[in-house]
Symmetry: C2
């Protein structure tokens, strides 16, 4: 037995147990034509956990999964912790060498790998189980599930502080870092998502955000907590998203702004029949994107967090008095990162000496967090953990201002700030202005080396249609809206390089800017 009379160890596994008891016959997972009920979902999770144990997985061992948003990944996200092991969901857009590095760092014994991705595991020394994603008897993954004995596994944990998952940061330099999540942290993150996004027994959630990204920001647990319906999607491209929105009566999804740009700009975009709540995070959405989303009937919420904070750690909660603002100013407010998602966690913006910056909406400082929604450290990396946790707070490396109403607003990654003639320029601020231009789909601003000023802003821009605006137009547009020293000197047109999670790779753009000089 787990816990005592007056204590149950907090774990997302409890959500699955309760929902399977309460709504055994309800559809839990939709994947194309396949439907899995909650009773079956729980049974398969327990069977898979049992089968992993029989395959030699010991308590505390790491088990990796390399898969798009499929039932196998969702099931494994519960089954691996149910087996007492640690979930390592791998980014599917990594190169084979990167996958090998992470699997090696995590020391994963077993890897479940989608058939389309097996070639990424060439360099990996582990027991690989292929997932054909067919649900058929000859699918090796199905054979593994069938080998398990569900009755041997309870959906519970002996210690809520036990390791639940490792999530590797998509940092562009240095050894990958595995952020450690606990059962307790994942449980509370899931509840925070439920409360903040108003999930309920009638929720149908579309899996646009990759489940490998901070464990899908906690939504595997949140949706399961309310016995909601998980709609899987192998490839979250805009056409597939619109098909699902129309066919499955979706109520909620999450994604990065760059994905939402594709959704609202798709040829098949149309006004929604029922409101859909969209949680946008991973990068600040531009006011223009928010305004376009609302026009179609989406209810966008902007949230912010990092791999180190289980994904979302703040949310930009709508204030009733914002109803009185004009649409553009509303969109600007909604682009703020906001306040902490879940009590009693805390977030602050601090100066170099660790004191709060004034809440003036102007002074730049670093965003620091603490609480149940912060990782317990980097896996087997005491040194970098100590550095990140100095002064008793997790240091995000993100630069923000603190508004008088307590909302934080990101100005940059510490490394992205442009310092021009001793003045700080927030690249996000400049990007926001560029995105307000009607011809612009997306913009990224980076520092270009400059002999006189040290650095100057250089803009990379994607246009709606080629030739719809030129560099001169855009620079003039900026100069009407920003201090002149903040405006880009030069604009380059063309596609933007991105990470697997949709973040613009500013490191690549900075290199281009430096070599072009």
């Amino acid at each position: 037995m787990t816990g005592s009379v007056s204590r149950a160890e907090l774990t997302p596994l409890g959500f699955l147990r309760r929902s399977a008891e309460l709504f055994p016959d309800r559809v839990a997972i939709v994947h194309g034509e396949r439907r899995t009920t909650y009773a079956e979902f729980a049974r398969r999770v327990r069977a898979l956990a049992s089968a992993l144990r029989e395959r030699g997985v010991e308590p505390g061992d790491r088990v990796a999964v390399l898969a798009p948003n499929t039932p196998a990944l969702l099931e494994a996200s519960f089954a691996i912790p149910a087996a007492g092991a640690v979930l390592v969901a791998l980014n599917v857009r990594l190169a084979a060498g990167e996958v090998a590095t992470i699997v090696g760092d995590a020391g994963a014994r077993v890897v479940l790998a989608d058939h389309a991705l097996c070639e990424l595991l060439e360099d990996v020394d582990a027991d690989v189980v292929r997932v054909d994603d067919t649900g058929a008897d000859d699918d090796p993954y199905e054979q593994l599930v069938a080998a398990g004995t569900p009755d041997d596994v309870r959906l519970a944990v002996d210690d809520e502080d036990a390791l639940f998952a490792l999530n590797y940061t998509s940092g562009t330099t240095g050894k990958p870092k595995g952020a450690m999540y606990t059962h307790r942290g994942a449980y509370l993150q899931g509840l925070g998502d439920v409360v903040e996004f108003g999930l309920g027994y009638d929720t149908t959630y579309l899996w646009v955000l990759p489940m490998f990204h901070c464990n899908g920001w906690g939504f595997p647990w949140a949706v399961t907590a309310v016995a909601g319906r998980h709609v899987c999607l192998r490839r979250p491209d805009p056409g597939a998203i619109w098909d699902a929105l129309d066919a499955e009566r979706i109520t909620h999804y999450c994604c990065a702004p760059t994905v939402q740009i594709g959704v609202v700009g798709h040829d098949g975009a149309h006004e929604l029949e029922q409101p859909v709540r969209v949680a946008l995070g991973g990068a600040p959405p531009t006011p223009a994107l928010i305004a376009r989303s609302e026009k179609l009937g989406f209810h966008p919420t902007h949230l912010y967090g990092l791999t180190e904070t289980y994904g979302p750690h703040t949310v930009c909660v709508w204030q009733p008095e914002w109803d009185e603002l004009d649409r553009e100013e509303q969109a600007h407010r909604r682009a703020r990162q906001g306040q902490v998602l879940m009590a009693p966690d805390e977030i602050r913006v601090v100066a170099d000496d660790g004191s709060d910056v004034p809440r003036d909406g102007e002074t730049l400082g670093e965003v620091v967090m603490r609480g149940n929604g912060v990782m317990t450290g980097y896996f087997e990396d005491a040194e970098r953990t100590k550095e990140a946790f100095r002064d008793g707070w997790y240091h995000s490396g993100d630069i923000a201002v603190w508004h008088p109403d307590g909302y934080i607003e990101l100005r940059d990654r510490a490394k992205d700030v442009i310092i021009s003639g001793g003045e700080n320029i927030s690249t996000i601020e400049v990007e926001g202005v560029l995105s307000d231009h009607p011809a612009v789909v997306e913009a990224a601003v980076v520092a270009a080396p400059h002999e006189r000023w040290g650095e100057r802003p250089l803009a990379y821009v994607v246009l709606r249609r080629e030739g719809e605006a030129d560099a001169e137009d855009l620079i003039a547009f900026c100069r009407e809206r920003l201090a002149h020293f903040k405006c880009p000197d030069e604009v380059v047109f063309g596609e933007l390089p991105k990470t697997s999670t949709g973040k613009v790779r500013k490191d690549v753009l900075r290199e281009r800017a430096a070599s072009a000089d």
Copy 2:
């Protein structure tokens, strides 16, 4: 500082801190014409906590409050734990001797007492602060708040397992028992209420259920967690409830079925303009009451729990397939106690040997619980704690069946079961049938001693209008619907004696039945 980088101690105090940061200018408390914003609510709570400390309250000390549903009681419900002390909310309908016993058992140093109730404290040896409930400068309570230094108090706790409150059971015999609640338990109970009842930033909650009853089933924390509006009510009589429903756009309230009987039967009852969710608990609502409530636009949810379980521990969640049932059968389903409210807590129905009873909807067993929603024991009463916690589960003393769908349905308090000729008769089952009769408002069935059968059921009934039915009619009505041995032999008409929380005092009726014999 509290907690560590990766841990915040769970406490309802965090909900108030966050809501005051997020919505400082929003109305938190309504009391007649008085309005208190969230910023002011938090400031007053911190001031009161500071003032209590200065008055000599030490960490771990108990502080009692004797008040109806007023802002003072709501503020004290946060301020006493914020001072590091333990909240003891006293039942306002107790006699002076009972109050003295409980204050003595708790060892409360300070008592905050509403002006209308001060006379109950004649026999109490404690530092009493009178609450005039005026909000005026000459109110001794306001003077206490004014004496505090809010900046000296943080809305946080050093240990989530610390004692938060004592709630005394309204048991009718023996020494009162103080059920111990922790900060962690109260936090999770509050979140369970939020998730299950769909509370959100637009919630307006009417304080019908006494806040002294299991700390208002966790709703002080739940409503505050979503920055909802607390509407106070000194006397929750049906007329005042209807006035508030009409004037304040109420979205949610909680109460005992007997209160709801008064609401739906009130002269001013009318169809609601907007749906109001009503959580009914404390006794099983009859199907007739649920049907009448729905007709007016209430959305009743039935929940079940005890003082020992922070109030609600199960909820009767609506199953979509029940939509197909006729209205009466729907109401019967909704009268079940249901499944556990909050994962990962557990509830079972067990036989004498501690094994699960079959899930057949027929076999009687005792309801047992465990988890974060169970008290940590009775205050300074190791013996009765041990007895209640035997076999690693809290033994409720309630008798139920377990349905095939996992829902439990109460049949009786262990001491209320009628044993007639060796057969168990559930008094709740017989009461449910009687309440289905159109002339009946409320019914209570108890055992009357019987020479031949040992015990026989005797019914006490309140009629809608005097003379609308007689004993013969009602007995015949039962015999058409129940096994004949379960039907009452005799019916007595007239008002029912009740406890302060609206439960029928079956002990009184049993005495009457015994003495009438």
